[in-house]
Amino acid sequence: MKITLAGEKKEYEEGLTVAGLIALQQVETPEYVTVSVNDKFIQGGTFAETVLEDGDVVEFLYFMGGGR
């Protein structure tokens, strides 16, 4: 199945969950990433049970605390 992650369409295995995608991407701080799928936020704590589907558009949003 094809999923668009951060604007790039790629092929992934069927049955991939949000947690699985986070693991595949080797996100730096996986426990603090915010995820949206098709412009809806995925509740924290439900990443492992949220199964992605063909055509889904996924965004990872990261904390960025610097500024001074």
Partner: protein, 269 residues
Amino acid sequence: MAFTDAQLERYSRHILLSEVGVKGQKKLQSAKVLIIGAGGLGAPAALYLAAAGVGTIGIADADAVDLSNLQRQVIHATPDVGKAKVISAKETMEAINPDVTVNACRMFVNAGNVMDLISGYDFIIDGTDNFPAKFLINDACVLGKKPFSHAGIIRFKGQLTTYVPGQGPCYRCVFKQPPPPDAVPTCRQAGVIGAVGGVIGSLQAMEAVKYILSKGDLLTGFLLTYDALKMDFRKIKLPLDKSCAVCGEHPAILAPFDYEQAVCDLNGH
């Protein structure tokens, strides 16, 4: 009051623009913008807003200029080391443009003073460097119905969004609460390229200018992310969270509050 010849010359490149003109320049002159944090983001934002002729600029920061700041905080110069950042910033802004009134507020912004601080301003720029401050400014601006620009930078990356009351999601819709201290690296731990602050802080100034002029589209409902190494800008749509604890339908947060600050952040630079 009509502009003097010197002012017409100073702002001539603005006045030439159909979106600004004399009318828009007057709006800038009457506008009041507050910048919280006189550092990597606040420095470029303050320079451009002062140069643009924003009539009143508030700048809030508790720190003094440190040698390690000068790599990115371009409003301060080497002779300013040791001076209060807000005084150094005020002097630079007034030197660029004597038309501007600068309110220098040497203070730590906290739950006890934030509502008072923001109350007199039309637009707020968050140029702080820690999550407790970013959540505090978000909550205060939502509760006080103030538009503001949120931003963060680290390493070669930066991001920003704009909140306008009633028009889109707030910072807390995206990030529910601050990560535990030290769970997510800060610039002090991880480093940052100075020009990233220049890019993102300038964009924050641009959002303030557009808001004041009522021209163009703001970043309301979007997070603009910048990756300098990939030379990539992305505009990511932000959903509204109806269950948001501060701007949602049944808010649990009814007054600003302070999260416990990491000890290393209290020594701040």
